[in-house]
């Protein structure tokens, strides 16, 4: 991200991990941290889409408060001292990763995005080298009815990036979530096969924002699928320019 531009918007100064930083008051702690090259791990967040605060990996501490806050949706405040890497946070993040890996069937060795996967690289970065929770091994479908793309629910982490990009950027709202709790599932239209969707524009944005191998292009074999995300910041900045 570019440094804070000169605007009329009030700027807040505060600390992240002891470092003095500043950010516009409408920015999130995550945006401020990334602008200052401080890394906070995320999975559901994607710059250019709305934030939902769902994966809970970006939880940070604010000194003086016992409550953890998701950096992606928490606005900066004057004088706060943010801690992004305490022992407790590191432990929680690793556990969250373990939970995600235990939930469905994440087998890197046979995955189209092996080597290009955000879930895989985040797990590595967080030092998650084994999963202590029993694998739940759900029986899930692969929907390959679409002419160009397919979804393998076994690899979905329910980050809802596909739902948001389809609704907010492509404005087709083909994707949504059905069911609840551990039985949640992303669906196309009213849970029809993707290939029969009347709303899908076949733009492929969902495939490219998907952090894992859940959404992929047909014809790609193991480790062949690398996602292209450049379109998103480009589209968002063009739209903002048009509004202004």
């Amino acid at each position: 991200m570019s440094p804070v531009p000169i605007t009329a918007e009030p700027v807040k100064t505060f600390k992240i991990d002891g470092q003095d930083v500043s950010a516009r008051e409408t920015e999130s702690i995550l945006q401020a941290a990334r602008a200052h090259n401080i890394d906070i791990p995320t999975l559901c967040h994607l710059e250019g889409l709305s934030s939902t605060g769902a994966c809970r990996l970006c939880m940070v501490e604010i000194k003086g408060s016992n409550k953890l806050l998701p950096a992606c949706v928490t606005r900066v405040q004057e004088g706060i001292e943010v801690v992004t890497n305490s022992e407790r946070l590191v432990k929680y993040r690793r556990m969250i990763m373990e939970l995600i890996f235990s939930e469905r069937n994440h087998v890197c060795a046979v995955c189209v995005v092996n080597g290009h996967c955000e879930l895989q690289s985040t797990a590595q970065k967080l030092g998650m080298d084994h999963v202590r929770y029993p694998y739940l091994n759900p029986q899930l479908d692969v929907d390959a009815s679409h002419e160009r793309f397919a979804i393998d629910h076994n690899r979905c982490i329910l980050c809802t990036r596909c739902v948001r990009v389809c609704d907010e950027i492509e404005t087709a709202h083909t994707w949504d979530v059905m069911g609840r709790g551990i039985g949640s599932k992303v669906i196309t239209d009213f849970n029809q096969p993707w290939g029969e969707s009347e709303t899908c524009t076949r733009c492929g944005k969902c495939v490219n924002v998907c952090p894992t191998g859940a959404l992929f292009e047909k014809g790609k074999s193991v480790a062949e699928m690398a996602k292209q995300r450049q379109f998103l910041p480009y589209l968002v900045s063009r739209r903002e320019a048009m509004i202004e």
Binding site: T52, G53, Q124, L158
Partner: protein, 562 residues
Amino acid sequence: MTAEELLAIAESERQAKQQLKYCVHVCSSTGCASSNSEAVAAALQQHVKEAGLQQAVQVNMVGCMGLCALGPLVEIEQVQVQGGAPPTTVLYQSVTPADAPEIVSGLVSGQAVQRLRLETDDPFFTRQTKVVLAQAGRIDPERLEDYVADRGYQAVFKALTDMTPAEVIEEVTKSGLRGRGGGGYPTGLKWNTVAKVQSDQKYLICNADEGDPGAFMDRSILESNPHLVIEGMIIGAYAVGASKGYVYVRAEYPLAVKRMKQAIRQAERAGFLGQNICGADFSFNVEIRLGAGAFVCGEETALMASIEGRRGTPRPRPPYPAASGLWGKPTLINNVETFANVPGIILDGGEAYARVGTEKSKGTKIFALTGKINHTGLIEVPMGVTLREIIYEIGGGIPDGRKFKAVQTGGPSGGCIPEQFLDTPVDYESLSALGSIMGSGGMIVIDDSSSMIDVAKYFMEFSKEESCGKCVPCRVGTAQMYDLLCKFSAGQATEFDLRLLEDLCDLVKNTSLCGLGQTAPNPVISTLKYFRDEYLAKIKKPEEAFGVASTQAEHPIEEASQ
């Protein structure tokens, strides 16, 4: 309607009642209705008619009288008394339609039917303080006039004609009333925050999405006295400047929904809802929205998403509803019981209200007493009574000569309190200090025949089923915790599982997005704290456990090459 017209209705109701000799109240709330109270009322009605007593005896369907365990309940209220003796009331328990002739002939002879009689000097009745439930079981919830006859809607007149919104808030603040949905946030403070926000449109929501297993306080209030809730809502709307209100009630409460709908229509016809209420420059309308069976929709942000027609999932706060609620507008959201407390505060003053209760928890609280207890039912007690008083005096103790083990408060968000803390006063702070919560008022008594692991497992299954699935710790964490508790319950757990379970409690509590996940581990945490022996007893010995532990193999992640 003017104040004079209101008083005229009240007066004519009183006079009509004075013509009667007896009022026969038959409970028609869900508890008694499920044991056939409608047929009882019909039989009584028929026998009154056959005996030619229509002029002297009126049979009314009323709301909850409290002692649901012994329903259907019928109360005989003597109206006219010869010779200046005080009027008596007789309460009958477990009445069947076949009892009707005997009861009616008892009205003629003046002799109560002893075999059905329930002593009203039992501590269950004498130890309660009925404020919110004062009219429940006495008035017909389907008649506006019944409510008006007992000071109904006078608080609206007082607030709208004699008080400014600021004065209303001041009075509520003085009362010390705190949110009855479980959180205990000061109501006056919440109202003040919403009132201060400038906006062309504000909303008010009454949260009636009561979902805790074993809790039926809100249902009973809505079934027994819907106008009381509407009156509280009108006053709240006036105080914060809201013009549109919603009652979000779960569809599993058909009788409450029916009565609330009826009451809203009646209030509209009488001019308490609509334009220029009571001649004041204030308009307010109320609509009902039905919840479609998701516990998480009791969480305020999920509830609002549901009203807006979206998937009922919570969103991070801030912004709080007071700043950005329904359709992004400032919204006041309170629980049914909170609103039901308001008319009394306006009529009698905040100071009078604050005389009941403890220093930080004022007024009374309604509890749904269930589980292994003699007097299953609905009770209202002043804040600060002890758990022992509730369970042993009002509740009549544990049935079948069994021993008390724990009391679970606050449903799936609460915890289990063991015997050594029975003398704890019931208020928001004391219960939190014990690792439980006041919650909305569910109180489940557990005796020594139950395993605390099974209790924790039951609530965890509930949380797992009701998790919306949005955030990882709640979605996967509750599922994993449930599986671990199943292992304990089956005697298949290891020391390692105990560590996993404790770690998960910590994670899910501290990192979940909304209250559902943040409180879901509470039943486990509190049972681990007070009944750890039961968990330890279920752990396999190391040599037995070896085979199980070795299946927890390490699964290295492939190196990513980026």
